[in-house]
Amino acid sequence: MRGTTPRREQGMADPVLASMVHAIGLETAQHYTAATPKIKAYRDRWAELAKFRDGPVNPQRVEVTDPVEMAKQIKTKAIELGANMVGICRLQPHMIDLGEDVPHEYVIVACVAEDYEKVLHGANAVEEEAMRTYAKCTEIATELATYVRNLGYPALAHHNGGSAVQAIPIFYQVGFGELGRHGSLINEKYGASFRPGFVTTDLPLAEDKPREFGVQDFCMNCNVCQLNCPGDAIPKDHVITHGIKRWLIDLEKCYPYSRLRDEYCHLCVDVCPYNVKHHPETYKTFMKERKQVGYKTPKSW
């Protein structure tokens, strides 16, 4: 199946970032050169696992008579491996990178939640947590793909070490939540503080369904991420993609804070009121600190 959704090139391969970095006379973005040893180790981990994305398929295929049971088995395995959320859906062209060919029928997504408490320890702690989570997702996707291949079905892991699938449309389709104003998908339990790994496969599996719980309606009135964004990169108005509201982040405004500085920027996700439900005290403390330095907090705070 051929993909139809463009993916922006990552790192210095992104022409927008490259142009901004070169305009200030640098060879690469400060964000990459200033990575801590822990961050470098996490990046090395997914690079190391990239060669295990695919592998030999067991010729003794396990017959699947009940895709519902098989889906339960796969989800249980992913949770055992360390995932916090697992979802399954049928792969569709808009879930695949433009021009990429993924010859599988299903996609399994396994997500690991970030430790939201890290927001109180500053930008580098948030960055390390994000990279730790990505590394964990890489391990889970690699192990899960191996597990599926051992059942006798082709399976390919997609993660930071190599991917041809798009996170947001898959998150939406498996019912993890809705796309928020800040451009990340919001889940009612984890907010937008989670990272994914994927496995595409032909293993017959029961599908999950989209599930909406009012995020986009809420985002239409809540502008907290927009008002807290140091680069004013989050737009007021939305567009429609595949019938769904979508706010397009202005990268030219985002990159000076997220790439052209030593420290990471994760603020749009950190200030999202959907964090309050499971981290009430941390969220209140964090937002009070921000209020003291002049940023907007949710109404009634």
Binding site: T4, L98, D237, V239, I240, L248, E252
Partner: protein, 69 residues
């Protein structure tokens, strides 16, 4: 930098925004790749400097009901 929106206009008139791009070269390159796809042959593309007007979308409850069917 120039900001350009690529919009896909489907045969039924529905407009779906492909994305925001930062140069005519980047936007035109995306359109070219999309036009090469067999399943997109019936779609038209436009490159605009302003975001398209927000189209009406299916209410949440209705979409939920459709998904649960």
């Amino acid at each position: 930098m120039e900001k350009l929106y690529v919009n896909e206009i489907r045969p039924n008139g529905e407009v779906s925004t492909v994305g925001l791009f930062y140069s005519p070269k980047e936007a035109e390159g995306i359109v070219k790749k999309l036009q090469e796809l067999r399943e997109k042959k019936s779609c038209k593309y436009e490159i605009t400097e302003t975001p398209p007007r927000s189209a009406a979308i299916t209410p949440r409850r209705e979409k939920q009901a459709q998904a649960e069917k």
